[in-house]
């Protein structure tokens, strides 16, 4: 009976987030960290990090290496605080390193975005995702970007099956030796001009897998990376906002 469907739709309600730049995430969510000037034993602080993301003098956190385990902020709550700021994607690798005293948002350097990206992809960006030893957390969050809540399709951003129909690739995972060739073949199949995004800490730095003999990250040495999207896994809002800023610029959102 059609009444069932009406009831289901009523319960379902409106699920989409009207403005993806606005939602607030709850307290324990770990976004951009802020590091105070408090004096601590810097070596002890740095050595507790599982991925060596913490630097010393001055204390810094590399969001490209951080797996958001939170241990540093539990051990040194007055020194390190994670804010809920999820807009942490950038096109400049160094900008992912947050230093003592930095309280500014992590942003995209508009001058460094290649000219063709905004002119060609501003209204439509089709992407081929390559899971290169991704753990299926990053992949699920990328799928969520297209669901009824985040609905990035409304901005013309979409994942497609064939690399030939795409404008770039999105890599998740630390890139295993066994996937290295497939990554290259897939990238080569995308027509020029094309972009590369690294999504998730594992893709950006290797994350917790650094030092494993099973990885082959040589692909990354050959090309310019257009967007780094940190997180373990990145929140869909981090991805959607980062991509939008890259293809449309800040104001035009």
């Amino acid at each position: 009976m059609i009444f069932d469907e009406i009831k289901i739709l009523k319960q379902h309600g409106n699920q989409f987030i009207p403005d993806v730049t606005k939602p607030q995430l709850p307290g324990p969510f770990k976004g951009r960290p802020e590091i105070s000037a408090e004096e601590v034993n810097e070596m002890a602080l740095a050595s507790l990090c599982p991925t060596g993301a913490i630097g010393t003098s001055p204390v810094s956190i590399d969001m490209g290496k951080c797996v958001m385990c939170g241990e540093c902020s539990f051990a040194y709550p007055n020194k390190i605080k994670f804010t809920t700021d999820y807009k942490i994607a950038t096109n400049i690798r160094e900008r992912l390193i947050v230093k003592e005293g930095d309280i500014n948002p992590i942003s995209i350097d508009e001058n460094k975005i290649r000219a063709e990206i905004q002119s060609l992809f501003g209204r439509s960006l089709k992407l081929r995702e390559i899971s290169a030893a991704g753990s299926n957390a990053d992949e699920q969050e990328l799928n969520a970007c297209g669901n009824v809540n985040f609905d990035m399709g409304r901005f013309g951003i979409e994942f497609l099956a064939s690399p030939r129909h795409c404008d770039g690739i999105v890599i998740t995972g630390p890139i295993s030796e066994n996937m290295a060739e497939a990554v290259q073949v897939c990238y080569d199949a995308v027509p020029d001009p094309k972009i590369i995004m690294l999504v998730g800490t594992d893709a950006i730095s290797g994350g917790i897998f650094v030092g494993s003999g099973a990885l082959n990250r040589s692909f990354l040495e050959k090309y310019i990376i257009d967007l780094y999207v940190p997180g373990n896994p990145p929140h869909p809002l981090t991805f959607v906002n980062g991509v939008l800023e890259m293809i449309r610029g800040k104001k035009k959102n």
């Binding site: 069932d4 469907e5 009831k7 289901i8 739709l9 319960q11 379902h12 699920q15 995430l25 709850p26 324990p28 969510f29 770990k30 507790l48 599982p50 991925t51 797996v67 958001m68 385990c69 939170g70 241990e71 539990f74 994670f82 995702e129 390559i130 899971s131 290169a132 030893a133 991704g134 753990s135 299926n136 957390a137 990053d138 992949e139 699920q140 969050e141 990328l142 799928n143 669901n147 809540n149 994942f159 099956a161 995972g173 630390p174 295993s176 030796e177 066994n178 996937m179 060739e181 497939a182 594992d202 994350g207 917790i208 897998f209 030092g211 494993s212 003999g213 099973a214 990885l215 373990n232």
Partner: protein, 513 residues
């Protein structure tokens, strides 16, 4: 010790119990295989792990068989001096479920199992014995015929999912045989467990074995370490961990139902189930900051105790979810257009599943009563018995969907009972323990089993005489269950592959490690 090795062929331990290595009987290989073949004849016995590890000049082999009725794990071993050429007679011929273990041992250590019916690579581990075998050159099964054709898919798939290669041997539209080649996701995790010795590194690794089972694998790891270190944890912590495990199950089951609806082109189900996944994982985010529950499990304690306001939010979420879920599920399972695409599609039998050693949902959907929560309960499952869903047995896509539907409802009820337990608990939540407060005992083996949402997860560890982890062994439920998907495809239209694949939703990285 001598008398033990001579008289008993195995030693019984409980789940998450540690035993001294010297107590594990060492059998001759002949006796070992007879014992395995004999014990595995019992329907309530299945192998939870069989692995080799190097110890000086000797290769040691440990076998752990779980007995679902006796609730124990029978442990025994055999040994082989390390040589250029090592050979053993394959047990797989008699006990099919052993194929994956023997293949892994061959791949890692170069031991040849003679008469093995299926001596194929498993995951092309970076430290494999034979480096000349490479992932792009897998020996696929072939049939010579002018009339047949092959369809190859992957490693990169159409959707945003993990990589794997599927090779179909087809007669027209009908699949005669599907072979699944994995290994693309191999990250060397077991080796990293030894290399990265800080507890937090290992905890983060355990959360990354399969990102969709972060809580399941981390809880299995935590249970193992706590056992090796002789730490007993609070009731409160056990309850909270179990809530985490059951929430992970709900989140993944509902996501799978949504994906199956996408496969059926049933838009309403896809949207509504998809939207119901969001509040589930968002609850996780509210609790521990991460939508996949990363950070929730720590050794000995927690950073995120479930306080009064979190419990309130959990109850609210459950009520809202349940109402919406039940209406949608009733609709879905009453539509003939949906049922037509689920019933009698991709059917496997109870016999097949017990032969391949299927675990978790893949076993239960054919009527096998296998669920660690009941057979080998630990923590809260021990205090508050969980009644598994054992009344589905048709083994088709419908069974896999219907089992998820029922397990979601069972998990909601069970979480409600856990909440009542938590409300009467007045322990002050313990903080996580780190190196300074933990010491693993030396020369032990420990086996930890947890029923993750896919099925039984098994971690084993062996400590050396300094109490350091000498060997770490991980087994995701998918290790056995991939064969179930291959069997489901026999004599099926190739176009039914996507719905079957979604109905299993097995882990690539959990298999590849």
């Amino acid at each position: 010790m001598e008398t033990i090795t001579n008289t008993l062929s195995y030693i019984s331990i409980r789940n998450q119990e540690s035993i001294s290595l010297s107590k594990i009987p060492i059998l001759t290989y002949g006796k070992f295989s007879t014992e395995v073949i004999q014990l595995m004849k019992e329907p309530q016995v299945h192998c939870v792990n069989y692995f080799a590890y190097p110890d000086g000049e000797i290769l040691k082999f440990i076998c752990c068989l779980a007995d679902d009725k006796a609730s124990d794990i029978k442990v025994f071993s055999h040994e082989l001096p390390k040589r250029e050429k090592m050979q053993l007679t394959s047990i797989t011929r008699e006990v099919y479920a052993f194929h994956i273990y023997e293949r892994e041992i061959t791949e890692n250590f170069g031991v040849e199992f003679i008469y093995s019916p299926w001596p194929k690579p498993v995951r092309y581990a970076f430290n494999r014995a034979d480096r000349s075998k490479v992932v792009n050159d897998y020996p696929f099964y072939k049939i010579q015929s002018e009339e047949l054709h092959e369809v190859g898919v992957g490693p990169i798939h159409a959707g945003v999912i993990e990589p794997g290669h599927f090779r179909f041997l087809c007669n027209g539209e009908t699949v005669l045989h599907l072979e699944i080649q994995l290994g693309w996701q191999h990250r060397g995790i077991e080796d990293l467990f030894l290399k990265k010795s800080a507890l937090i590194q290992r905890t983060v690794l355990s959360e990354s074995i399969a990102g969709d089972t972060a809580v399941g694998h981390a809880a299995t790891f935590a249970g193992l370490i706590e056992s090796l270190a002789g730490i007993s944890i609070q009731d409160r912590l056990n309850i909270e961990r179990t809530i985490g495990l059951e929430l992970e199950r709900i989140a993944m089951h509902i996501g799978d139902l949504s994906n199956m609806c996408i496969g059926l082109a049933y838009q309403l189900g896809a949207s509504v189930f998809g939207a119901l996944r969001t509040p589930t994982i968002n609850y996780s985010q509210l609790w521990c900051g991460n939508r996949f529950g990363k950070g929730l499990i720590r050794i000995g304690g927690t950073h995120y105790p479930l306080n009064v306001s979190l419990v309130e939010a959990l109850e609210k979420y459950l009520n809202n979810f349940e109402r919406r879920f039940i209406t949608m599920a009733e609709k879905m399972f009453s539509l003939s257009s949906v049922l037509m695409r689920l019933e009698n599609i991709g059917t496997v039998t109870k016999t097949q599943m017990s032969l391949i050693g299927a675990v978790g949902m893949s076993a239960r959907m054919t009527g096998i009563e296998r669920d660690v929560r009941k057979s080998h309960p630990t923590g809260a499952y021990q205090k508050l018995p969980y009644a598994p869903v054992f009344d589905i047995s048709t083994g088709d896509v419908w069974a896999r969907a219907a089992l998820r539907r029922k397990e979601i409802v069972a998990s909601i009820d069970y979480i409600r009972e856990l909440i009542s337990m938590l409300k009467t608990n007045n322990e002050t939540p313990a903080k996580p323990l780190f190196e300074d407060n933990i010491k693993l005992s030396s020369n032990l083996l420990s086996v930890s089993l947890i029923e993750g949402w896919r099925g039984e997860i098994c971690h084993c560890a062996i400590t050396n005489d300094q109490g350091k982890i000498q060997h770490y062994k991980i087994k995701d439920p998918s290790v056995h269950n991939w064969m179930a998907l291959a069997l489901s495809l026999r004599d099926l239209e190739i176009s039914d592959f996507p719905i079957n694949n979604k109905s299993y939703n097995l882990s690539y990285c959990g298999h590849d490690l």
